[in-house]
């Protein structure tokens, strides 16, 4: 694990492959558009005007840079490593998701697209997409699993306030994967005028690389901020993983710094051994879904199995293909945290730091709880505080309400 082979930031290759993962496994109808998107993105990446606009909106609209905050009380609480929180929850809309949405909506405008669609799980990507669609005056349709609509009501309301149409998806299990299926069906039907803003580092090439690049602002800032604060790079980075965009955004700028340890935390649900989880790397096998080859939760016949997590945003039976590759290379360590561990860490963060994290983020904090106590104070650990937990009040009250004397919702 200490000697990763051929870790390169130059991936994916021209075919969108990270080793054997990634690719463009989509219907022919979408191929011309995906190739066009790839060209447009390549051009935008090297276009100073596009980059200037991106930087402008990241600054004045999103509120970047987000602080790298030394969590003194959390550090004391665990009694080990110095814990720093990368405050992505302070971004406009309350999570890292908007970093990517701003980038993609600028691209959509550049390509002359007239309509925005997206899938959402917890609703954070849906809210971020609805937000940028409103800002740029584009009609917006968000696909959201019926099950998720139930458990994320506040975000559903936010999306509607922002002018988006939220379409409940009842097919399959009514969660994130089904929302993504439905968004792909919309896209293939409205291929001429519609831009699909995928919310994570998955999907057909160029999405995994493009979303990663838009999110890499997290890692670039962290690097500069830690150098400024401590004069050196962090020793470890911790982030939660559903599809894996906040994690890859933090990790990617550090991939070649082999002394920086990286830990991705999957949603362990009721425990990986129980079968009720969303840990694709720890409990899945390679397969092809949603345009890319990656690790999936599936049965031996290649049928996708439902993911289970207390957090709607991690409740996805796959993971970005670059994570699958980094896992096989051993560059990033992938672990999991259970629902209960996440709920415990959620409360510690609230009480020690006065920060209510998203349930997704609480999975990363659960790993910190396991790891930090055994490390010296000199160890600099950065946790991506990927989102705030306001949206999760109803779920958390459901699980912990009695403890706080709150009526069960």
């Amino acid at each position: 694990m200490n000697q990763p082979v051929d870790v390169s930031k130059s991936l994916p290759d021209a075919n969108g492959l990270f080793g054997s993962f990634g690719g463009r496994f989509v219907a022919e109808t979408l191929m011309p558009l995906i190739l066009e998107l790839q060209d447009e993105y390549t051009t935008a990446k090297n276009d100073p005007e596009f980059q200037r606009q991106l930087a402008y909106f990241q600054g004045d609209y999103v509120g970047r840079p987000s602080p790298l905050y030394f969590a003194e009380r959390l550090t004391e609480h665990f009694g080990g490593a110095s814990i720093y929180l990368k405050r992505e929850e302070l971004n406009h809309t309350g999570a890292h998701k908007i970093n990517n949405c701003i980038g993609q909506v600028l691209l959509a405008k550049q390509m002359g697209k007239k309509r925005i669609i997206a899938e959402t799980g917890a609703g954070m990507h849906g809210v971020a997409t609805a937000t940028v669609a409103a800002r740029f005056g584009l009609p917006c349709v968000i696909y959201m699993g019926a099950t998720d609509i139930e458990r994320q009501q506040p975000n559903v309301f936010r999306m509607k306030l922002l002018g988006a149409e939220v379409i409940p998806v009842t097919s399959g299990t009514g969660t994130l994967k089904d929302a993504m299926n439905e968004a792909l069906r919309d896209w293939v039907t409205n291929v001429d005028d519609t831009f699909y803003i995928i919310g994570t580092v998955a999907g057909p090439h160029p999405y995994p690389a493009m979303v990663r690049d838009f999110q890499a602002v997290i890692g670039h800032e962290t690097r500069a901020q830690m150098l400024e604060k401590k004069g050196r790079l962090p020793d470890s980075l911790v982030a939660c993983i559903g599809g894996g965009s906040n994690a890859l955004g933090l990790f990617h700028p550090f991939l070649d710094d082999l002394d920086v340890k990286m830990i991705g935390v999957e949603a362990g649900g009721k425990g990986v051994k129980s079968g009720l989880h969303a840990a694709s790397l720890n409990g899945g096998t390679p397969g092809v879904l949603h345009g890319n080859r990656t690790y999936l939760l599936q049965n031996e016949d290649g049928q996708i199995i439902d993911a289970h997590s207390i957090s709607a945003g991690l409740d996805y039976p796959g993971i970005g293909p670059e994570h699958a590759w980094l896992h096989e290379q051993g560059r990033v360590e992938y672990v999991s945290a259970t629902d209960d561990e996440a709920l415990e860490a959620f409360q510690i963060c609230c009480q020690q730091e006065g920060i209510i994290p998203a349930l997704e983020t609480a999975h990363a904090l659960a790993e910190v709880a396991k790891r930090a106590p055994n490390l010296p104070r000199e160890h600099l650990m950065v946790v991506n505080l990927s989102g705030r937990g306001d949206k999760d009040m109803m779920s958390v009250a459901h699980h912990l309400g009695e403890k706080f004397g709150v009526k069960q919702l």
């Binding site: 496994f25 219907a27 001429d192 049928q303």
Partner: protein, 279 residues
């Protein structure tokens, strides 16, 4: 090479008769294994020329509600890749001429193992594959290995396939070309007749392969209109709806075969009128 495939023989014979092929789509195992077997075995007699048999997948991204539900019915009743291949093998003991094309998504094939799948499929008597999520960019995954096993890889061309891309789409295609009549999912809106005829004519300039047209074709009238200029007409969701709407397995079989007979009659007669006009 003296070997000719069932698909080649089928299209050659139909050319002699100056009529298009009727291609039916049903999902294997829908609504259950035994009813699905009865449906399959009765198709040639009801007038189907080429059978498309869907391999059910939990996440059929290119399919509309009808075929999504069909896949779930099949999977909930225990359908597997192995059982689908076994259906073909049994069918072949009774029928050695009607071509069978398996249609579906890559993941169940990938998990079965590509080589193992192709070996078992060839042995069972499968003639071709249509795999929706394998564009030519991924030909090394399945398309090229399939050729090694003598199984045709039927390529989809769509309204978005422009002149620049078409050569790539046609490069390793075999069996026939499946023209997707509308940008969208299966069972969606009907294609515009004028645009469709032009698209098929345009495609013909670039390939010798027979051209089938599918997506959104539900009625005998539509099938006849499209069959005048295409080499095959594919009907899927309309047949699958018959299963969904039936109260009993017997009724499902009766309805499906009934609609097939209607469609078959109409494609058999579809070019007669235009011939008369020639004289």
């Amino acid at each position: 090479m003296t070997h000719t495939s069932r698909l080649e023989n089928c299209f050659a014979a139909l050319k002699q008769q100056n009529r298009p092929a009727l291609v039916s789509y049903l999902t294997a195992g829908d609504p259950d294994a035994e009813t699905s077997r009865r449906l399959l075995h009765g198709l040639p007699k009801a007038g189907v020329d080429i059978i498309e048999l869907g391999m059910p997948f939990s996440d059929p991204m290119a399919d509309g509600p009808a075929i999504q539900k069909a896949a779930l019915r099949a999977l909930n009743n225990g359908q597997t890749q192995a059982k689908t291949l076994e259906m073909v093998r049994r069918f072949r003991t009774e029928d050695s001429t009607t071509p069978i094309v398996l249609m579906g998504y890559y993941n169940p094939i990938y998990c079965y193992g590509v080589e193992r799948f192709l070996t078992d499929a060839a042995k069972a008597g499968v003639d071709g594959l249509i795999v929706v999520d394998l564009p030519p960019e991924h030909d090394e995954e399945l398309c090229q290995p399939a050729a090694q096993h003598g199984i045709d890889f039927i390529r989809l061309a769509t309204p978005t396939t422009d002149a620049k891309r078409l050569p790539k789409v046609l490069a390793n295609a075999s069996g026939f070309i499946y023209y997707v009549s509308v940008a969208g999912v299966t069972g969606g809106s009907a294609p515009t007749p004028e645009r469709l005829e032009g698209a098929v004519a345009g495609l013909r300039k670039h390939t010798e392969l027979p051209i089938a047209v599918g997506f959104g074709i539900r009625t005998a009238e539509q099938a006849a209109a499209i069959g005048r200029y295409s080499d095959a007409v594919v009907v899927g969701s309309a047949l699958v709806d018959c299963i969904e709407n039936a109260n009993t397995p017997d009724e499902a079989v009766e309805r499906v075969h009934g609609l097939v007979s209607e469609l078959a009659e109409s494609v058999r007669a579809c070019r007669e009128v235009s011939e008369e006009h020639q004289f």
